[in-house]
Symmetry: C2
Subunit: 258 residues, 2 copies
């Protein structure tokens, strides 16, 4: 919840209500009334009113004294995805890349300082570790797709990005030096792809390329990820990248007509 109480045009009840919805997260998928109140730093009476409103609207149900979200909550964001017309164009090609590489293939766009997953083709076998869904967010600066998308920014935009981004070392390999990152992103722009090795999570490597529309505007980035022990970085460049680039090219050929 944000502190904008001095702004007469800021609707505090809406802010608090959305915060209540978002407080049903991975740590607390289900909560009692009191837990909602505590987690959202509000009185029990207020929490109750928010929950009863959300229940009345169908977004929340109560199961054995615990409130939890319903599928109806997907309505709130669903239309955003539906408005991204290119998704249905790129997914068959992502699927083909996934098949050839035996890896999950994902697409994302930039939002604030994160990448947001907008499509995902699961791999043929069990997921290794990360549980990523449409809507999942990861920091842009240390992910392959993020770097591809940042590579599409102007210098001013990139400066603004680093003003806001919180550069955390997720692993011993994470690069958090702004100068280094600037250089890497500049190189990414030149290369037209990005390989990130163990910067977000140990033992995980990924390679990403952009997908552009007719005007050359980057619509999104797509990537595949893999465990590091499986192969060497040179193999990523020689075996994985061309498949991904081919998928992007084929998608782009169709997007030209859109």
């Amino acid at each position: 919840m944000t502190d904008s109480s001095s702004n007469k045009n800021f609707l505090k009840t809406l802010d608090r209500g959305l915060a209540v919805i978002k407080s049903f997260d991975g740590d607390t998928p289900q909560m009692t009334l009191s837990e909602v109140a505590r987690k959202n730093s509000m009185s029990r009476a207020s929490a109750r009113r928010f929950l009863l409103t959300l229940q009345s609207l169908g977004y929340v149900i109560k199961v054995d004294d615990n409130f939890q979200l319903t599928a109806k909550i997907l309505e709130v964001g669903h239309q955003f995805l539906s408005n991204l017309n290119f998704i249905e164009v790129i997914t068959p090609f992502m699927r083909e890349a996934s098949r050839l590489l035996y890896k999950a293939c994902s697409a994302s766009i930039l939002n604030e300082t994160d990448i947001v997953y907008i499509a995902r083709i699961p791999s043929q076998h069990q997921i290794l570790s990360v549980n990523l869904n449409v809507g999942s967010r990861l920091p842009a600066y240390c992910t392959s797709m993020g770097r591809v998308l940042l590579g599409n920014m102007t210098e001013n935009e990139l400066d603004a990005y680093f003003k806001h981004a919180e550069l955390i070392s997720h692993t011993p390999h994470t690069i958090t030096d702004v100068k280094k990152l600037h250089k890497i992103i500049k190189q990414t722009r030149i290369d037209g792809y990005s390989i990130v090795n163990q910067e977000l999570e140990e033992n995980l490597c990924s390679v990403a390329v952009p997908i552009c529309n007719q005007q050359g505007k980057v619509l999104c980035a797509i990537n595949v990820g893999m465990p590091v022990g499986q192969l060497k970085i040179e193999e990523v460049t020689s075996e994985y990248l061309p498949v991904l680039q081919e998928a992007a090219s084929k998608a782009e050929a169709i997007l030209v007509h859109h």
Copy 2:
């Protein structure tokens, strides 16, 4: 927006705010301030306050005098999906079924009177017609997955369903007679699958099966859809259904350990 103004525990501002978010739909993905006000039957001053709040929270941006949703809005529903732990178990098998059948494969659950899509493996080629995403909703009574899920209901629950469901003829083939539907759903329960032919959309046929967990509880339904002209219903039963059932069985074998 619902009319619950007589209820002291109903927070009208939250209701209105969520309605504003949802008004950014397929018909109006972008809107001016005045269009938002008109579409939501509220004053311009109110609309402005809602939009400025959502903008301040990052859920909406303004591009050339038009407001539109940002990817951040996916945060609101994202956690619901993440809380469905079985999705990452079933998607590799859905993917295999999709590969074998050369069709998109989807999973859904019931919410109110609709099915809601919770996972989707796109087909290898261009989508035929329907643009379905995670979060998309379709009426349960005339969809194969819906019938499978309704087949899992008690008689009381099914009666309650038909009290609320709006039975619309989407095509000349749509069955809207409650007695007939009861019979069909009962048969679906016995069969363990459902084939729906041109009841939601002309020339589209689909077959669905349930996926159950260890306790026999139905977690979701999965389906594949196809154009009718491609094959006969008997072929659906003999060629498509077994593949889908195998995918479900394999997923269930793993879910036993969850």
